[in-house]
Structures are given as C-alpha cells and as structure tokens.
C-alpha cells in the first residue's frame, strides 16, 4: 500500500533532518499591505534561515499575525515579494498555494481545533483527508506527535474536554503531523497562565532543537520571546530538558521588532537587550 504513495506522502511518514544552512526558507522583501486607509505593513523585509527560529515581537495591532497569514497565502500583499522555500508565493492562486502549504504548519492563536473532531482526527486531519496514507500508519504518526507534546493519552477526547494549554499543544501536534519544514506560531501562549505558557514554549524549543524545524513565532509576550530565545532542549537519557542556551544556540534565534507597520529592530536576544532605542527600552522595561 505504501508503494502507491507519492514522494510527498512518503516524506510525511519518515523522519527528516534539516541541515542548518544559510539558505532562507522564508523571505519577506519589502512587503506592504493596507486595509483601505489603514497601513498594516510598510515595506517589511526579513529572512528566516533553515533550521532557525525567528521571533516577531510587537504591540497589539502592528501586523504580526498578518505576516503569518501572508506566508500561508490567507492574505495577499499589496506590494513586495514573499518567498517560501525559494519559490515566490505572493502571486500564486489558491490552487497553486496548496503545494506551498504542504511545507508549512501553523499554530493558530486559540488553537483553531475542529470542534466536531476528536484529538486523533484533529491531529491526523491532513493525513486522513488529504493523503492516501493507510489509516494505521496515520494513527502511528498521530500517536507519535501526541506523545511528543505529552498528550498521548488524549486521543479520543474532544477539544471541548481539553484545557487551554492542552488545546495549544494539540494544535502544535496537528501542525507537526505532516512533517512541515516550517512552523508558524501565532501567539501560541495568549490567554494561558505563566506555568502552562512555559509548557507550550518548551514544545517550541523541543521542535526547534530536536526536530530542527524552521519556525516563525509571533508574540507580544516578552516572557515567551526571551524564554524561547534563551533556552535549548537537550536529551538526558529518555527525557528531554530545556536548559539555558549555549552561545551558539542563542545566535540561532533572532528577534524582529515591529513598530508602526515597519521593522524597528532585527537581531539576537543579547543585541536586543543591548539596544539603546528608547522604544525598545520601554518595551523591555
């Protein structure tokens, strides 16, 4: 049965390693977007390199989530160019975009789990509905990713039976199930208490360091940005722990600060802390 699968479907079932490189997986080149008179993004440019994480920080309404929607093709820019895995995507139609979305997973702000489906069906949705992968193999993958986020026992629960933190972790598992090369997180800890937020942040760190997924994390929570940028996941026997990051790891996560629809700052966490910009200082204080 597996022999009839496409190359992409086989890739969804097999472990993948991405070599860190200087090849950008996402490029924003002078991207602009406005809704009527309101400018959301004004010539925003940045790059996300393979296997790295970039954190987009900024106050509410500065266009952080819009960046993710543009990458996924849920919105179209008014100007500039967007590249995903080297392919220009801002001019693609909805049908052509489906291929691009195969490589991108997204964790939505409130999880956006499908109410009428169980955790198993939510996590395996893409594999069940959009591929010809046999059900037993999909179930195997679903158990694997749910185990990764620590929810292996919750297969048959409905989303309404989960806590806020569990819903976000299921959403991470769903985004991860088809082994995307890039993960986009839209405020994944909003509305969670600090302790639960750390469990979600730990999953983001584990994915970055153990699965080597390239990630774009949008948040307005400094606590999350600092925690993800300053920690790394290490294996200790069978267990995985998040510990303070080595200087090499610190350099692998960069931060973009948006203000007034434009990029105010781009650099690493130490560079952000050292910045003398008054707005950054007020944001950090």
């Amino acid at each position: 049965m597996t022999g009839t699968l496409t190359e992409r479907e086989r890739a969804m079932l097999e472990p993948r390693t991405i070599e860190e490189s200087d090849d950008p997986v996402i490029v924003f080149d002078e991207v602009s977007l406005a809704f009527d008179e309101k400018v959301i993004l004004d010539r925003v440019s940045f790059k996300l390199l393979a296997g790295r994480t970039k954190i987009i920080l900024g106050g509410s309404g500065v266009g952080k989530s819009t960046v993710l929607k543009l990458i996924l093709g849920l919105l179209k820019p008014d100007g500039g160019a967007i590249y995903v895995n080297g392919r220009r995507v801002d001019e693609l139609d909805e049908q052509a975009y489906m291929d691009v979305r195969d490589d991108v997973g997204m964790v939505f702000q409130e999880g956006a789990l499908f109410d009428s489906l169980t955790v198993r069906e939510n996590v395996g949705y893409k594999l069940f509905e959009e591929t010809a992968i046999p059900i037993d193999q999909v179930d195997g993958r679903v158990k694997e990713v749910l185990g990764f986020v620590g929810l292996g026992e919750y297969l048959l629960r409905m989303p309404s039976e989960l806590s806020g933190g569990q819903r976000r972790r299921v959403a991470i598992a769903r985004a991860l199930a088809a082994r995307p090369k890039i993960l986009l997180y839209d405020e994944p800890t909003t509305g969670l208490d600090p302790i639960t937020a750390v469990t979600v942040d730990d999953e983001i760190i584990k994915l970055r360091d153990l699965e080597e997924v390239s990630a774009l994390l949008v948040t307005h929570q400094l606590r999350d940005a600092f925690y993800v940028a300053s920690h790394e996941a290490v294996r200790e026997g069978d267990a995985v722990k998040c510990v303070p990051a080595s200087p090499k790891k610190l350099a692998e996560t960069s931060i973009v600060m948006l203000k007034d629809s434009r990029v105010l700052f781009e650099g690493t966490l130490p560079e952000l802390r050292a910045s003398a910009d008054p707005y950054l200082q007020s944001f950090l204080s």
Binding site: L72, L74, M98, M106, F108, E110, A112, D115, E129
Partner: protein
Amino acid sequence: MAGYVVNATKRALEEVQDYVRLLGQIARGLTSRPIYFRDIVEQFESIGLGSLTVVLLTGTFTGMVLALQSGITLDQFGARSMVGRLVSASMVKELGPVLTALMVTGRVGSGIAAELGSMMVTEQISALRALGTDPVRKLVVPRVLAGIIMVPVLTIVADAVGMVGAWIITTTQLKVAGSVFWNSVTMGLYIQDVWMGIIKPFFLGFALVTIACHVGLRTKGGTQGVGRATTNAVVAGSVAVLIVDFLVTKLLISLMY
C-alpha cells in the same frame, strides 16, 4: 447622505461579487477532485433526515387546514366533493415546495450559517486552508449537493403527508368519502403540475443552501457576528425562496403550459 449611499452600494456590490465567486467555486468543486464523500453522506443525513420531522408536521397540518378552508369555500358552491382537487393542486404546485423550502431555511439555513460563522470567527476555516483543504470543497459543496437533492425529496414527503392530512379531515370532518377524495385528487393533477412540484425544489434547495453558506463564510465579529449571520441567513434565504419560487414558476408556466 451621499457617502452613506455610496458605501451601501459598494457593500452590496461586494456581496454580490462574493456570492457569484462562491457559485463559481462550487461549480469547480462539483466537477473536479477532491470530493469529500464522507461529508456528502453526513450532510445528506443532516439536511434530509434531520429535517424530516419538521417537514412531516408542516406538510400534515398544511394539508389538514387546506382541506378545512377549502371545504368551507366549496360548500358555498355545493362542491364539497372537489376538496381533493383543490388540495392536491395547491400542495403539489405551490405549498409543498415553498413551505418545505421555508422550513428547511429555518432549520438548515440557520444551522449552516451558525456553523460556518463559528468556524470563521474561531479561525477553523483558516486552519482548513492552512492544512491544504479548500473550505468550499469540504464544507460548501457537500451542503449544496444535499440541499439540491434532499429538498425535492422532502417536498415529495410533504406533499404526500399533506394529502393524507387532507384526506383525514375530508373524511372525518367534511364527511366526504375517501374514494371521492382520492378520485378528486387525481382528477385535479396534471402531469405538468407534478413536474412543476418536483423541479422547483431543486432551485429552492440550491438557493437557500448557497445563501446560508455565503452568509456563514462572510461572518466577522465574534459571537455577535455569528448571531447576526444566523439571522441574515434565515431572512435572506426565506426571501430568496419566495423570489426564486416566483421566477421559476413563471419560467415553467411559459415552458410547460
């Protein structure tokens, strides 16, 4: 004032443009892969079986009240025995299709708008697209197919139970023999009437479901928006049913009579 008119016109045109675009996407979804068979079966069950009770009750009581009213009117001409003819013509040609479509609009149209609206405001529709699924193929096409097929089926059911209701009233209240009633029913129906009663619900089912989907997919503004979408779907769907009924009736009369 002029600004308000310009804005309202712009919004109305955008609405029509979006609806026409949705119809194009539905046409593409109906004629190309992927087709979500499981969702289609689910919607047939939800729209068809789920609406059966309300349609049975509506059809039965409409037939009964029609027999009662017709009896009073026909008594004035000493033509009580013709009740069956009046009831069958009214039920099959007009009341069966329209009342069934209105009932389905109230029950199914509101449900579709609320469900799709909730999915919009909780980003589940965006999540579907992010997971590589076209929401129109997955959510709209199965509902449209179910609407097109099940509304005519429900109409036939409503017509049938309406006749039975009318027969009960005619025989028990109006004291007309059952055989006279059924003979009158067959005498009053022409084949064109039957065709009209069967063809119209296809259009009504299509209109009410596509409008509900369109309204649901345009929902904005949280739970308040979902409530607004539900109301709009029922109001717009009901009005559309009456308008489409008139237009299709006019067309069919010019073609068949």
